[in-house]
């Protein structure tokens, strides 16, 4: 089975597991299976309208799936997908002083 590697902050939603076995097909299928198994992950991975959050990166091996076939990237037995956070933030735009 393919596996999805879970980053540290999301392991609280996978019972502490750093990896979850998922069904194959496409990357979208694999992530769909992941969030069916662990529904509390959904709000941290997807926006309200069902799009992957912009700061959530999904890698197949060492490649960002955005540079492969995106959600249609094929995922087979033995493949490993990794959810990698882009860590971003910053203050409000207007300077306060």
């Amino acid at each position: 089975m393919p596996k999805v590697r879970i980053p540290t902050p999301l392991r609280q939603y996978t019972g502490g597991n750093p990896e979850v076995d998922v069904g194959g097909g496409t990357a979208a299928d694999a992530l769909g299976d992941l969030t069916e198994q662990h529904p509390d992950l959904r709000q941290h991975l997807y926006t309200g309208d069902g799009k992957l959050r912009s700061f959530v990166n999904v890698y197949k091996g060492d490649e960002d799936i955005r540079y492969l076939d995106g959600p249609d990237t094929q995922v087979s037995d033995g493949d490993e997908l990794s959810i990698i956070p882009s860590i971003a933030g910053g203050s409000a735009r207007r300077r306060c002083r």
Binding site: P7, T8, P9, L10, Q12, Y13, Q43, H44, F55, N57, Y59, D64, S82, I84, P85, S86, I87, A88, G89, G90, S91, A92, R93, R95, C96, R97
Partner: protein, 140 residues
């Protein structure tokens, strides 16, 4: 749950915030979550990869640098406990932009820095429903 962070690591964050002022600095805090508190063992600087002219109020850590941090922490039997960053000329409080980009369970340490130095430093935790933050006490 308090965040225990020693004076040396506080000093590293303050130094980083002052060096990059008026741009934001960022990095990760690593250590152990022992249940009743998180113990910071080290802080590692990250490169701010946001577009240069926006770095006064934005930071971004490259995913590949994050992968390297996770690997380095794992090799030392530690976890990434959270992220620090600075708010130049702004309070040490998370913005809406911070909230939109935050990860659950992580400590978000924010240092308010001005031309006079670091004015304040606080730590925050994202609420489970992503609606806001809870103040997380910092202990020495």
């Amino acid at each position: 749950m308090p965040l225990k962070i020693g004076a040396g690591d506080v000093g590293h964050i303050h130094d980083h915030a002052k060096e990059t002022y008026p741009q934001e600095c960022s990095g990760v805090i690593v250590g152990m979550d022992v249940g009743e508190m998180k113990i910071v063992v080290d802080v590692w600087r990250a490169e701010n990869t946001f577009e240069e002219d926006e770095r006064g109020h934005r930071f971004l850590i490259d995913p590949k640098e994050y992968i390297a941090f996770e690997k380095r922490a794992g090799e030392r039997d530690m976890d990434i406990l959270g992220v620090y960053h600075s708010h130049p000329d702004h309070p040490a409080e998370p913005s809406d932009y911070d909230r939109e980009h935050a990860w659950p369970g992580w400590s978000y340490v924010i240092a308010s820095v001005s031309e006079n130095g670091v004015e304040d430093m606080r730590s925050w935790l994202l609420k489970d429903d992503r609606s806001g933050y809870e103040d997380e006490p910092i202990v020495g």
